[in-house]
Subunit: 155 residues, 2 copies
């Protein structure tokens, strides 16, 4: 491609930057699928189901507002409502009215839900080690975490 | 969470690994949207449209099989067929029959399509610098690219 005018201070990518950019693009397509495939194959559990149980298990009292939970799992509220109904039917969570807001609902992790998460956790952990951490030995993890957070806009 | 039995050789994530994992999860949600938002706002162009023009511009003779192009842009063939029809109506590409396979179609970049890509490129480059490379000064880029490729299964 010929070089059109660039905004002040913006320079084309170097070959090294280009390589990072291509790898990052591939990773963002491939990694979520690889983790999901492992969970589905070994646990018959979707990544969203795992994410719901994990978020609840890490929350105060194992309970979250449905709106918060949808946000944390990157789902729409209507999608989360359907998924919570499925998980409730399986006995993994309960939905209760909020004390503070009559229109709001909470999702509450049950003991059975926690047991299901604990059953799935080793699969997910092994998958995360194999796909991610087995390949990061040459990088300083705190520096990497800081850079990833900054890229995600959390700096 | 209590510690259930783990597969042999699999250890729980350390705090540093946990931090990388969370940052990576956030990044995979946030970064594609940030790049897309910039393109749509400043160029009225979708990320898929940009990806089609870029892939064609980098291919031999500016031409690719529709099936290859769909794969490269991570789209279904039917989705790519619709998008290519739109881009063809705008004059940015042409669809031609394959010489070697009567059932196959090629997408061919037009001069107007290349000009459109060159017009959008500075916006995308500035966006990539701002969201990605401005935050990677502390990392060795070749080492990072190698790790990202390995995570994406390309090692």
């Amino acid at each position: 491609m010929s070089a059109p005018a660039l905004p002040p201070g913006i320079t084309p990518l170097t070959a090294e930057e280009e390589a990072v950019m291509r790898a990052l693009g591939r990773l963002m397509l491939v990694l979520p699928r690889a983790l999901t495939t492992d969970l589905e194959r070994d646990q018959r559990m979707s990544a969203s189901e795992y994410s719901v149980l994990r978020n609840l298990s890490e929350s105060r009292c194992g309970s979250m507002r449905m709106t918060e939970l949808a946000l944390a799992c990157d789902m729409s509220l209507s999608g989360m409502t359907r998924l919570a109904a499925k998980l409730e039917a399986q006995g993994f969570l309960k939905r209760t009215k909020c004390d503070s807001d009559a229109r709001g609902w909470n999702a509450v992790l049950t003991e059975q839900g926690l047991a299901r998460l604990e059953e799935a956790w080793p699969t997910h952990l092994a998958s995360v080690r194999r796909h991610i951490f087995d390949h990061l030995a040459d990088l300083d993890l705190p520096t990497l975490a800081k850079a990833l957070n900054a890229m995600a806009g959390d700096d």
